[in-house]
């Protein structure tokens, strides 16, 4: 599912023209799927992440008809975790703080990013990786601020994975000490499972959604370090119970930090920027051994 360079089922309309290439080729962690990108970002039509085109008929194994049992005992997400760990190491080495923004569609992630970029432009070098099923509208909105952005189109995929992000990183030239925002596909379920190599997940919940969402979609809130309650300027017009929402979030994740913000008015955003500065000051790798997952929330 190599969706940045388009060698899977999904496509990326503009990754090739979006920003300067750092390198012309790249490796794929622990996998035979390898391809090089020429200066014109040549696509290899036959290359796919999972090469199973041989089928049964294409396999010939003489003298091997007896049934055998093979013990594997490997985490299903071990491949993604391997890519994520490679991304995390690369980001750490470059002293870049990566934040993975997750939410349901329509919570205001892109507006929040645009506002944040405008406010922080002089303070941080920044770049954005945008994930959507279709179109490069979000990346265009980000580029209009003058900040570089790579759009990943996941096609039918409902989340970004670490392999896609690894590709996208190749298309960005972000200075050391910079800030990388990864805007995930709008979806409160699947992105919780896929570590991208980020320092933190930031979950955005808007006050026009239900206050019980953390209880309905606990995995995402359990995986996040920070919850931004967006669209606070609408609170006077709604029956949203802020206290109940905070209580729900803390119930599924006692460690989660919560900030009430408005991307429209800017309310509460200075606290978010302070959180970013604090997070950047203590970047530490969250080591996940290949084949193992963290046990608890």
């Amino acid at each position: 599912m190599c969706t940045v360079c388009g060698c899977g089922t999904a496509s990326s309309a503009d990754a090739s023209v979006s920003s300067p290439l750092v390198g012309d080729d790249h490796d794929h962690y622990g996998d035979a799927h390898h391809h090089e990108h020429g200066p014109n970002h040549h696509h290899h039509p036959a290359a796919r992440a999972l090469d199973f085109g041989q089928g049964l008929a294409g396999v010939s194994v003489p003298d091997l008809s007896q049934q055998r049992l093979i013990s594997i005992e490997r985490d299903i997400l071990s491949k993604n975790d391997g890519f994520a760990q490679a991304n995390r190491s690369a980001l750490l080495k470059a002293d870049i703080l990566a934040l993975n923004l997750v939410s349901s569609p329509g919570s205001g992630k892109t507006s929040l990013l645009v506002r944040t970029i405008m406010d922080l432009k002089g303070r941080w070098p920044m770049a954005v990786i945008e994930g959507d099923q279709q179109t490069s509208r979000d990346a265009e909105r980000i580029r209009a601020t003058g900040v570089q952005a790579v759009q990943i189109n996941t096609g039918k995929g409902c989340h970004l994975d670490a392999h896609m992000v690894g590709h996208a990183l190749q298309h960005l030239s972000l200075e050391s000490g910079g800030l990388l925002f990864i805007e995930n596909v709008g979806n409160l379920v699947c992105p919780a499972l896929f570590d991208l190599g980020e320092a933190s997940k930031v979950v955005v919940l808007s006050v026009t959604e239900g206050e019980d969402k953390p209880l309905k979609y606990p995995d995402m809130f359990a995986a996040a370090d920070l919850m931004l309650l967006n669209k606070s300027d609408l609170l006077p017009h709604l029956d949203f119970d802020l206290g109940a929402c905070v209580e729900a979030a803390v119930r599924v994740n006692p460690q989660i930090q919560i900030l009430t913000v408005s991307a429209r008015t800017g309310e509460g955003l200075e606290a978010f920027y302070t959180w970013i500065e604090h997070r950047a000051a203590r970047i530490e790798p969250r080591i996940v051994e290949p084949g193992m997952r963290e046990a608890g929330p």
């Binding site: 599912m1 996998d31 035979a32 992440a49 999972l50 090469d51 199973f52 085109g53 041989q54 089928g55 049964l56 396999v59 010939s60 194994v61 091997l64 008809s65 007896q66 049934q67 055998r68 049992l69 093979i70 013990s71 594997i72 005992e73 490997r74 985490d75 299903i76 997400l77 071990s78 491949k79 993604n80 995929g157 409902c158 989340h159 994975d161 379920v189 699947c190 919780a192 499972l193 896929f194 209880l215 606990p218 995995d219 359990a222 119930r251 599924v252 997952r293 046990a295 608890g296 929330p297």
Partner: protein, 113 residues
Amino acid sequence: MHEVSLIENVLGLVEQERRKQAFARVSVIRLRVGVLGCAEPEALRFCFDAVAAGTIAEGARLEIEPVCGEGWCADCRSTVPLAERFGACPLCDGAHVRMTAGDALSLAEMEVE
């Protein structure tokens, strides 16, 4: 539908195994899936045949062994069964339970020919 991606990952592991030791076909794939995790066994089964079509695992039987939920209750200082990821302790009804098992998502073994 992250279950499609999960099955693709399972098939990736199968393919990796085939590179290590030759086999012609896979007859059974056994997964271990935690009842408190994010993967739905029915959804995994539903998409398996479609995703496995045309691969070495085409026609294989998918078996899913559920893994029960367990937590550590800080108040009782003991391991307790957990029916919900953020559920209360079944012994003391307290909320200080940290899940210790039940979100497994692994490829346990497979039968090959």
